[in-house]
């Protein structure tokens, strides 16, 4: 079994084992809710609900401290308690974009109800209270003018101060944001709706605008409506506009198609010719196989486009990153991240490195399905890599035999151009299909799928050559209409959130068994 598969298997195992080992509920004197909590939630949220489970320092945001009864995803006014339905919903669905898993399929409805009751018992605030939801009304019909209106109010209400001009979480206040527990918190990237903690539908976004996300810097905008600064309809327009920034579901494809262009290849990252080529979404997950592991990566995915002209392959990779690292205005941020993650696998650097993007393919064509280890390759099956950094803005080309194990070639045959704007990097690579030196670099054959994988890191987030985000193997396919379906969709993305929860739970169970 390859190391890659071991890595993936471990993750899968962590979760599935934890599901299998349901075992008998422990002590009889515990209420059911407490038993469910102790088994499934305490590893993250802590035995006493203080949010201090053993895995706490691996996570950003940290598991919630339930003692203050501060909840993000509510239908009640800011400062209000969540309704039982609110709590059930968030326990059922989990919180996308965080390590908080959804429990709908893992616990029975009765268990979920019991555990919600137990969570409430951590705070005196719930006693005798019966919170009432706000009235939200209905979304107006979506229109083109409505979206323009929504964008106008996004600017009028100064959402961009935190979320940035294009919504990528790169506003001027973003580097300074902290939550109620003084941990750094990212302003949501509004082009990544699938990461919204409370869901990505227009209705859900509207609710968050009315209620705020308590415990975070995201305020309620209900006063602006009640004070007639804007109408309810106009606030709905904001929600619709925010909703329009993300695709409904990112178009994950196993194969990155590189059409053959008759004319010239795009001349650079900003060439409008790229717009005609549909992008593939490559999800990335934290590198959690090799220490130091990284469960809270900044980059959650890449938009990849490719094209060739029979001579040269051009690849454009675009991703959200709020900082052009290193950037002095983000020093406060990286200090905060380093402070939050102190105990996790050694200290996080407080010196900002560059932003990084690595693109790798097998150095030698794989036989069958055998591919190099996905983390940079292995000595037996090395990878050929392009390692781009933002500072200096340069690409090193060379041979990789593992994460951080990289030997640059003496000569560079890949060309690149990088542009940073509005919280987004766009980096274009171009290389001849036929390599200059066949021992040092593989060819990009037309009509064959070539495995391709990625690594990305944000230097202002404490990320480097190991703390960062990785993809599973994808494939790039030059110029054939029907791509072969040999490469399985990356299980990895699904597994990691679950994986962390699983690891915690499994470890907790192991401990329980050994005592």
């Amino acid at each position: 079994m390859s190391r890659r598969r071991v890595g993936v298997a471990l993750l899968a195992l962590a979760w599935s084992v934890s599901l299998a080992v349901l075992g008998p509920l422990q002590a009889q004197d515990l209420t059911r809710g407490k038993a469910v909590y102790d088994r499934w939630c305490a590893g993250c949220h802590g035995e006493t609900g203080a949010g201090d489970g053993e895995a706490m320092t691996y996570m950003l945001p940290r598991p919630r401290d339930f003692r203050r009864a501060v909840y993000q995803v509510r239908t009640t006014a800011t400062g209000g308690l969540p309704t039982d339905a609110d709590l059930m919903r968030v326990v059922d669905e989990g919180m996308p974009g965080t390590t908080m898993p959804g429990w709908r399929t893992r616990l029975s409805e009765a268990e979920r109800r019991d555990v919600v009751a137990h969570i409430k018992s951590f705070s005196r605030f719930f006693e005798g209270e019966n919170p009432t939801p706000l009235a939200f009304g209905k979304a107006p019909r979506l229109t083109a003018e409505g979206l323009v209106e929504g964008e106008r109010w996004y600017r009028e209400l100064e959402c961009f101060k935190c979320h940035g001009d294009a919504g990528r979480g790169d506003g001027p206040s973003a580097p300074t944001l902290t939550d109620d527990w003084n941990q750094p918190i990212r302003a949501a990237d509004l082009t990544r709706g699938w990461n919204f903690n409370g869901g990505a539908s227009v209705e859900q976004i509207y609710r968050r605008l009315r209620t705020g996300l308590d415990g975070t810097p995201m305020p309620s905008f209900s006063d602006a409506v009640e004070g007639e600064i804007l109408t309810e309809e106009q606030l709905w327009r904001v929600a619709q506009w925010v909703h329009s920034l993300s695709p409904e579901r990112p178009p994950v494809r196993e194969v990155i198609r590189a059409p053959r262009l008759d004319g010239a290849l795009p001349s650079g990252p900003e060439d409008s010719a790229w717009a005609a080529i549909p992008p593939a979404w490559v999800p990335l997950v934290g590198q959690i196989v090799i220490k130091p592991r990284w469960f809270a990566p900044r980059v959650d995915g890449l938009w990849v486009r490719a094209a060739h002209d029979g001579q040269t392959l051009a690849v454009l990779v675009a991703w959200s990153d709020p900082s052009r690292s290193p950037d002095a205005t983000w020093q406060e941020w990286i200090d905060g991240v380093a402070g939050a993650m102190t105990d996790a696998d050694g200290p996080v650097p407080t010196t900002q490195g560059p932003d990084r993007l690595h693109v790798q393919v097998p150095l030698r064509p794989p036989e069958g399905l055998e591919r190099p280890y996905f983390l940079g390759g292995d000595p037996r099956r090395p990878t050929y890599q392009w390692q781009w950094t933002s500072a200096p803005d340069a690409v090193r080309e060379g041979r990789g035999t593992g994460l951080g194990a990289f030997t640059a070639s003496a000569t560079t045959t890949v060309q690149h151009a990088a542009v940073f704007a509005d919280g987004e990097w766009r980096v274009q690579f171009a290389r001849a299909l036929a390599p200059a030196d066949t021992a040092a670099a593989p060819a990009f054959p037309v009509g064959e799928a070539v495995p391709m994988a990625f690594y990305a890191a944000d230097g202002s987030d404490g990320e480097d050559e190991r703390r960062g985000a990785v993809s599973a193997w994808y494939a790039i396919y030059l110029d054939v209409p029907t791509p072969p379906r040999v490469y399985v969709a990356p299980v990895l993305a699904v597994l990691v959130t679950a994986g962390l929860g699983g690891l915690v739970v499994v470890r907790a169970q192991r401990r329980a068994r050994s005592t």
Binding site: T78, E129, E158, C162, P172, S173, G212, T216, P219, G227
Partner: protein, 251 residues
Amino acid sequence: MRAAWLAIGTMVAVGCGGGGEQAASGGGETATQTAVAPLGTGTISGIVMFTGTPPANPPIDMREEPHCAAMYGGNPTDPVVMVKDGHLANVFVRVTGGLPAGPYPKPAKDPEIDQQGCLYHPRVLGVMTGQALQIHNSDSLLHNIKAVPTTNRGFNVSQPRAGMTREHVFTAPEIMVPFECNVHGWMKAYVGVVDHPYFAVSGENGAFTIGGLPPGTYRLEAWHEKYGTKTVEVTIGADGQGSVTFTYAAS
């Protein structure tokens, strides 16, 4: 139920001051909340001194808001330690012991906090439980106001326009409730919530007065965001006057 928590909060706040040594003077009967007569006419006059060299206040990077930055000649600083001629401002002082039993009269005027020039004015203030704190924005730009209490419920509201006002009522005593603006991470204020009206904040000249008290011996606690708390005892004599000095030293 909320009332029960109020009661517990009250016990904690008053209990630590060793309250109740003085017999209640004429407070026994059940008074309605609306019009509670003053407990007395005595006044505590106090002054907060500061010895040593006050530290320089940290600069604020206000480039994000040139409009605000311009109000400070381009060199805004965070007003953490405000010392003038050896007097310390922004010290929150309240009676923690010796008070007759309530109910206590509510101050006539609602307390106010304003956001102006991307700072809070005042930076330190007191409110009585049940009083309606008026939160006002005088800046023509977005502020959010996030209160992060532990005993009370917090909130996080936005005021994207000048002229907006929101009322907030805290229900339980709490020293102190931090207010912050996340759009402008440097903006900090501290609100002392007390279940009686016998509190004050030292002014620029370090002076404060707490009135409406009958003669007696009281314990006072002073709080400063950097230098912490100090406690003293003070007696209001038959002449209705008591005076007290707190002294903080540069650390």
